[in-house]
Amino acid sequence: MNDLRHHFRTPLMRSPFHPRVAAANVLNAWAPWAGVTTALNFGDVAMEHSAIRNSASLYDISPMIKYAIEGPEAAAYLDRLTLRRASGLPVGAVQYTAWCNDAGHVLDDGTLFRLGEDRFRLCCQERHLPWLQDSAIGFDLSIRDETEAIAGLSLQGPTSFAVLSAAGGADLAGLKPFRLAEVHLGPAGPVMVSRTGFTGDLGYEIWTTPDRALDLWDHLMAEGAPHRLRPVGTEALNIARIEAGFIIANMDFVCAEQVLRPDRARQPDEIGLGWMVDLDKGRFNGRNAIRAARAGDTLRWALVGLDIDGNVPAEGAELYLDGKKAVGQVTAAAWSPTTKRNLALAQIRRPWHRDAGDRLRAEIYALRELQYHKLMLPARIVDRPFSSPKRRRATPPGMF
């Protein structure tokens, strides 16, 4: 993305969309993401979240780590690497997946795009090239970090298809969730569009090359204006993803390769990803350990959604059983404008993910004018996602 010769002057790289993001980032609210400077918000988090749920939003996902995995044995390799059956993924489809070390501890989660019979793209939060390469010994394929070769925008919200249509993507009406297609978007040229996102709403991710990034931004913003399209930052997205119940590596769980304290690593079953584990597909990394943990009933944690009384976000709150016994921690929390509920994701010790009933309390320290107010608010375990509008899956999507 940038000239690395001057890395000490610019410790954070800039996204291909940076000129437009910087111009709109009127409060200069920046935060690093995978070594790239990204916008936290563009001035009004509430309006940005509202755009995600009520009109359309544009979010720069270029910093996401992307690996090209290509070769005759790419599918077999991904079957061995990841928890799900990648070889069963049709060309043109996308899979949410995760991968583990030998101990069955999750290294990361991510999305796997099947671009061709022998061509995949794996997108994730953290960098894993050495692990991916060591896993590839004995397979006929190549792995390349293509993070900086691809720019991406996430177009999310009820009017996102209207924006896409206006921009030249009307042909994508038949595109189902977790499918992808190539399309020509006027002056932005050919792009790849996947019906994916991190908001739990109707939405698309649009992939192009860095040299055409600004054309894509300008084109979408121009065509999207009548549909109330606005750029959004990470803070608004975070609220949306909590509403959708999505987890983030190194926020809701610690990547196993970065764990310092050995008890912090988590198996898929312990972070709500147990459904991914395909024990019938043959050998894959972590299979034996996952199987043993299930058989020996040695799983210690679970990841749950919480509905907490009041309206004070429970960020970092400790969870107590009967107000006394510490049984877990909140990993992400927000007051949800969509559901009008105080939501949280939390890691909780088993078996309390099942047996806590109404005995849980969240210990929240609310800072009010330099003094903490300690709140012990009742918290109930509820199903995720907290919010899942029908428009998310409707095909063809609505023209709101």
Partner: protein, 515 residues
């Protein structure tokens, strides 16, 4: 796969494979040993290297042979006989002032001043006492830190602990002080005679990618002494005869041995090892497959990296295998004269600890030593049948030579040979005139001949960080592997190689315990 006709298939008919086979067969298992070579024995082999001249092809002395194996298999009933039961060592001096250690690692010495002899007696006593602490650990499955692992193992651990306690407070402190120290410091502190210092430094680093000043090098001396407490033996008929006797003893237990049967695949049903496929294409099923091949070769090549998980792949690829020893075989038309040294002794050229260190320096940079240190045996001094009448052979292990030198062995082998011969000439003037045939085995040749990756005789560097529960790697150090039905039993496993059979015997115990 057909129904398994064997309980166990053992890949490799070296001493470890034979030990493992014998132990399992005596316990009633149906065992098949497969060896790629035409004769069993692995690194214990004797053969002709020039018409009429025979020599031990790789290992040429016995210092570690497992006593449990000898007691149970009784190879002496099948022809094992010791030509030398306690070989003396002579540290050669280029001026003829040799130093000779007799008995088990210098019980008595000749050629030392009185005061130095006393210092040596004290140091030797201490080394052997320290060795006693470690010896019980040889014969057990390496315990995992924080976990016990089997009643017999606990007993052995207790014995090691007891031996440590028995030393008394001061000696125990001394043991703990010395445990990770380098051998150079020890000989520098405790001895003054350079010949003796050189010999001890050489013995500690023989077969290792270490110099005397490398950390932990003393530990390898303990390791060496923990076998037969420093006793050196040589079988009548050479190492090949030992292998033959052992193979016969194993056959007598009911185990089946097949030679010229190279395994090219460990078969798996995706979950567990089910048998092997030979180079010929023949498939043989068994309830368990026991590999004495190099651990990396076993998993990455024979089983296939795809059959194991990535963490194990990483640990396997990180095992250090850096052989530094070359083997030189000389055919001589007369007896060499090492300035009066007794040819029946083990002859060592290592003039000082510094000389060993200097020789080691080169190998760090991908070069061989211009002044190598070496261990020489003369089989014909014990058994004239190894050469035509009046002729002799020498078997030489020379250090240090890298597995892949800069510039390659094509260009380097003549120069290495010349360097070794130059050292010999300095200690045995005129030896060059006697030479009628030479065979040089570089670490690369040894790797190619014996499947010893990196030319590492021990199938993985002997080093503290690759011992016990870290040998060959964490997670596969207790002979069992993450692949059910696949076991390790070779030199790459605890306690390492050196014609001992201990790893094979330990593995068999573990397999029987699991059965």
């Amino acid at each position: 796969m057909p129904t398994p006709s064997f309980d166990a298939i053992i890949i490799g008919g070296g001493v470890n494979g034979l030990a493992c086979a014998g132990r399992l067969a005596q316990a009633g298992q149906k065992v098949l040993v497969l060896d790629a070579a035409d004769t069993p024995g692995g690194g214990a082999l004797t053969g002709e290297f020039a018409p009429g001249y025979r020599v031990d092809g790789l290992a040429h002395l016995v210092t570690h042979l497992d006593t449990r194996m000898l007691a149970a298999l009784k190879p002496e009933r099948h022809g094992l006989d010791w030509a030398v039961d306690a070989m003396a060592t002579t540290a050669l001096s280029s001026d003829g002032g040799h130093l000779t250690l007799n008995g088990a690692y210098g019980e008595a010495v000749q050629g030392l001043e009185e005061a130095e002899a006393q210092r040596w007696t004290a140091l030797r006593g201490r080394l052997l006492r320290h060795t006693e602490i470690l010896r019980p650990l040889r014969e057990i499955t390496p315990p995992l830190p924080g976990k016990g692992g089997g009643k017999g193992n606990l007993l052995a651990l207790g014995r090691a602990g007891l031996n440590l306690r028995r030393l008394g407070r001061e000696e125990m402190q001394e043991f703990l002080r010395m445990i990770l120290i380098n051998v150079h410091d020890v000989v520098q502190e405790d001895l003054t005679d350079d010949r003796l210092r050189g010999l001890i430094a050489f013995d500690a680093t023989l077969g290792a990618f270490l110099g005397p000043r490398s950390p932990n090098s003393l530990f390898l001396l303990w390791h060496r002494l923990s076998g037969d407490a420093g006793r050196i033996r040589w079988p009548r008929g050479g190492m090949g005869a030992l292998a033959t006797a052992l193979a016969e003893a194993v056959r007598a237990t009911g185990a089946e041995l097949r030679c010229a049967a190279r395994v090219d695949r460990v078969l798996s049903d995706g979950d567990r090892a089910t048998g092997v496929r030979l180079e010929s294409g023949e498939e043989i099923a068994a309830r368990c497959v026991i590999s004495t091949a190099n651990p990396r070769t076993t998993f990455m090549d024979l089983l296939g990296a795809r059959q194991i998980e990535t963490g194990l792949v990483r640990r396997l690829t990180n095992i250090r295998m850096r052989g530094t020893a070359a083997k030189l075989h000389l055919a001589l038309k007369g007896a060499p004269d090492f300035r009066g040294a007794d040819l029946r002794h083990r002859l060592v050229i290592a003039p000082s600890s510094d000389a060993v260190e200097n020789a080691f320096n080169h190998v760090k940079y991908g070069e061989f030593s211009p002044a190598p240190v070496m261990e020489i045996t003369c089989p014909t001094a014990h058994d004239p049948g190894f050469a035509p009448d009046g002729h002799h052979v020498l078997s030489i292990v020379a250090q240090y030579a890298p597995y892949s030198p800069r510039g390659g062995w094509e260009a380097g082998r003549d120069a290495l040979q010349a360097a070794i011969l130059k050292q010999l000439e300095a200690h045995a003037p005129g030896i060059g005139e006697l030479i009628t045939a030479v065979e040089l085995l570089t670490p690369a040749d040894i790797a190619a001949r014996h499947g010893l990756v990196g030319g590492s005789w021990h199938q993985g560097d002997l080093a503290v960080e690759q011992m016990l529960f870290m040998r060959p790697a964490v997670g596969i150090a207790r002979y069992a592997t993450p692949v059910p039905g696949l076991w390790l039993a070779g030199a790459g496993s605890h306690p390492g190689g050196g014609i001992s059979g201990t790893a094979g015997w330990n593995a068999a115990n573990e397999i029987l315990g699991a059965a």
